[in-house]
């Protein structure tokens, strides 16, 4: 392997790794506030990118991505409200959330498929929202306390629901967002290394995201409140922090950043409805590599995994690419579950 090739692999690894890092940060944000590993994290990313791709045909690309991020954020909030939260009093907001899920399911199952395209979507929502208000009572009265085991299974089910909804709302093909600058043939040359300018976009936006999150958690009111929740729910409550709101915000934030990362990388790696689960397990490997809950170690972990994967292609067949990440996950889990950058004492204190 010569030096040029080495740097090419490095750039590819960094861009892919940035995506993993963002998914891992999403895992960490939710894990910190709730103790849940949200398995649907990868699907949030795909959902955001899919919406952005559909919108990009009628809107300028920046706004299309904005819409994608918005939809993913709303979907994150909906998922949290419907599947995670346990409410004992009537909440209209939750009813709307349940209604949205019901409407999506109605549309997916094709109940209104006899109506023309577009109208059936409206009909699903018209019918779904009242159903949501009815179902809210069922959720309020009969929803059971969740254990760790059931929450894992639940988020996996949500992930499958999401991907199946996506496969029916769109299709099972791979889609791409147009390149931000130029097209797939545009090449940026740096000495003897050449790569697509899109890779700069990916790295730049992911770096901005990480910096933005750092500022958010360090200096803003909500960021501080969310950090307080990650330390102790009861103490945070006693300080007057609305813990439930913080949990919702954590889902919104992690869905939004995932959607943004997914949109930026879509021109390079394509977007397909079923890519979410592999992304989720890779993101989890990265989160573990950095120590679960430690967002900034996750960045390092993501880049490491991305580079490892990029170089693995030069040794192993391309088909075995995913095995690298998962083998890494298994090795870390077996030998150092607290993560390479995590402290063993801290992880022993955690419940799971």
């Amino acid at each position: 392997m010569n030096v040029d090739l080495f740097f090419n692999y490095l750039v590819i690894g960094l861009t892919v790794g940035a995506q993993y890092a963002i998914v891992a940060i999403g895992f960490n944000i939710i894990y910190n506030t709730t103790g849940i590993i949200n398995f649907a994290q990868g699907d949030f990313l795909i959902l955001g990118a899919m919406v952005a791709i559909s919108m990009s045909s009628i809107l300028p690309i920046g706004i299309a991505i904005g819409v994608g991020v918005l939809v993913a954020a709303v979907y994150g909030a909906v998922v949290e409200n419907v599947f995670i939260r346990r409410n004992r009093s009537f909440s209209p907001f939750r009813s709307v959330c349940i209604g949205i899920i019901a409407a999506l399911l109605l549309k997916t199952l094709g109940i209104f498929s006899f109506l023309p395209e577009g109208i059936d979507f409206a009909a699903a929502f018209l019918f779904g929202l009242p159903v949501g208000f009815g179902l809210e009572t069922v959720f309020r009265k009969y929803m059971k306390e969740q254990t760790v085991l059931s929450l894992i299974v639940l988020t996996i089910a949500v992930s499958i629901l999401t991907r199946e909804i996506m496969s029916h709302l769109w299709d099972k093909d791979a889609h791409v967002l147009p390149y931000f600058i130029g097209d797939s043939n545009t090449i940026l040359s740096l000495g003897s290394i050449s790569f697509s300018p899109q890779r700069i976009w990916v790295l730049g936006i992911c770096a901005l995201l990480v910096i933005g999150l750092y500022v958010f958690f360090k200096y803003t009111r909500y960021g501080k409140a969310m950090r307080a929740c990650s330390l102790d729910h009861t103490a945070a409550k006693l300080c007057g922090i609305n813990v439930r709101l913080m949990i919702t915000i954590s889902f919104i934030v992690s869905a939004a950043i995932a959607a943004l990362a997914g949109s930026v990388i879509s021109p390079l790696s394509q977007t397909k409805y079923d890519m979410g689960s592999v992304l989720a397990i890779k993101g989890f490997s990265v989160a573990i590599l950095g120590g679960l809950g430690n967002s900034f170690a996750a960045v390092a972990g993501g880049l490491i995994l991305g580079i490892l994967e990029a170089f693995s292609v030069s040794i192993f067949p391309n088909a075995y690419k995913d095995v690298v990440a998962i083998l890494l996950l298994l090795l870390i889990l077996v030998f150092k579950p607290s993560g390479v950058f995590g402290s063993r004492q801290a992880s022993q204190l955690k419940e799971f």
Binding site: I37, S150, A157, V278, F316, P317, N318, L333, F352
Partner: protein, 413 residues
């Protein structure tokens, strides 16, 4: 185990015969195919039920064990081993390195891989030849091939599954919660990726033309029209044996130990239960069940495809166990037979996965003890009885001229 506990087993055997009679008499013999397949899938689900419901250890990789059994069996009974048996060492090295997937890799390091894997493969195959494990057959082009007899392949496949389960289980079962779920999920994805990337396992095409598995006399496991009823009974009896074994395990000291581990591992440890040993044992047993199902199903179907290895299949098994009530073998069996049959008949169309995901959501959110249980029926009976009693009482009082002041409020209740 007292005699009453065998009652469900007797009912199961009775139902087996009754269903066969009904189907044969109504002439709807095509249902046998899906029922037989459901029997095999149910074996996987029972293993998972022992692991999840009783020992409390989640596994999202059971499709992996199923496919280890199925793919090993399919490969061993269809691959042509004559070149390995008869050729020189050099050629063996070349052949062995070639079976591992794509050409680029083969060109990169042929000698090393060939030498590392070639020697044990040649020795193993040679040993098999000495014991007469090979039978001649034909491939898709009518050429003569020499591959493992199904019965020999059965042992190799099951031993492989057991070995891999031990290897995976030993480190992984030390983990808990999210980590265990993710690790087993990772294992499932690894198996799926390997199958996809390896020429030996047919890559994306899967393996077809798996020969029939001749048991004793006229009994053979195959997908032929003529043997449909026989195969229905073979699958039913295999499931029955697995059921009896599981029931005995559950009712024995081992079962109690597993439940103790489920309740609290530390507490179980303080009672002298070696948690790791029991967890590993039940993990390997459930992997073995999955592999058994895979081995027989691949003979019944005559082929195997990559969809069997997908994560979605693992999640489907989990959702069936959850819907069946986790720690109730009979509930799980009933649920598995019903759901698998409906799904295999294709009643769900393209909504198959969404349906199983919905079942999982509903079970987890509202009915963590399973979709159908005796308790629910009892609650309903109790409520209706109370309601009717109250109405009768009210009518009696009304006859005597006593009217409730808060009549409206009472009605609302």
């Amino acid at each position: 185990m007292n005699i009453r506990q065998y009652l469900p087993a007797a009912v199961f055997l009775g139902a087996l015969v009754a269903v066969q009679l009904v189907i044969s008499l109504t002439g709807a013999a095509f249902y046998f195919t899906q029922i037989t397949m459901s029997f095999y899938y149910t074996i996987v689900v029972i293993g998972l039920c022992l692991l999840m419901g009783y020992a409390g250890q989640i596994s999202l990789g059971h499709a992996g064990f199923f496919s280890i059994g199925a793919y090993m069996q399919a490969m061993l009974t269809t691959h042509d081993f004559s070149s390995i048996i008869h050729s020189s060492w050099d050629e063996v090295f070349k052949n062995v390195s070639q079976i591992f997937g794509t050409v680029e890799w083969y060109e990169l390091i042929p000698e090393k891989i060939g030498a590392i894997l070639g020697i044990p493969v040649k020795l193993f195959v040679g040993l098999g030849d000495i014991f007469g494990m090979f039978v001649p057959g034909t491939d898709g082009f009518g050429n003569g091939i020499l591959s493992y007899a199904p019965s020999a392949a059965l042992f190799i496949s099951l031993l492989t599954a057991i070995g891999i389960a031990c290897l995976i289980g030993l480190p992984v079962l030390r983990l808990k919660g999210h980590y265990l779920a993710m690790a087993t999920l990772g294992f499932g994805i690894i198996i799926s990726t390997i199958v996809f990337g390896t020429k030996l396992f047919g890559e994306a095409d899967g393996i077809s033309r798996v020969p029939a598995f001749h048991l004793v006399g006229p009994l053979s496991i195959n997908g032929g029209m003529a043997d449909r009823t026989v195969n229905y009974y073979i699958a039913g009896i295999i499931l029955f044996i697995v059921l009896i074994v599981s029931m005995h395990i559950v009712a024995s000291r081992v079962g109690r130990a597993l439940r103790a581990i489920h309740g609290n591992e530390q507490a179980a440890g303080s009672l002298g239960i070696n948690a790791m040993r029991y967890k590993l044992g039940v993990f390997v047993l459930s992997a073995l069940f999955a592999a058994i199902a895979g081995v027989f199903l691949v003979h019944y179907n005559g082929s195997i495809g990559t969809s069997e290895t997908s994560v979605l299949k693992s999640v489907r098994y989990v959702s069936i166990v959850a819907a069946g009530g986790m720690d109730s073998i009979w509930g799980v069996v009933a649920m598995s037979m019903g759901l698998n049959f409906v799904s295999l008949r294709g009643y769900f169309g393209s909504f198959d996965e969404i349906f199983f995901a919905l079942i999982l959501v509903v079970t987890m959110l509202f009915l963590p003890r399973g979709l159908f249980r005796k308790e629910y029926l009892e609650v309903v009976i109790k409520k209706t009885r109370r309601l009717t009693r109250r109405m009768v009482l009210k009518r009696k009082l009304e006859k005597k001229g006593i009217v409730f002041a808060n009549k409206k409020k009472d009605d609302e209740k």
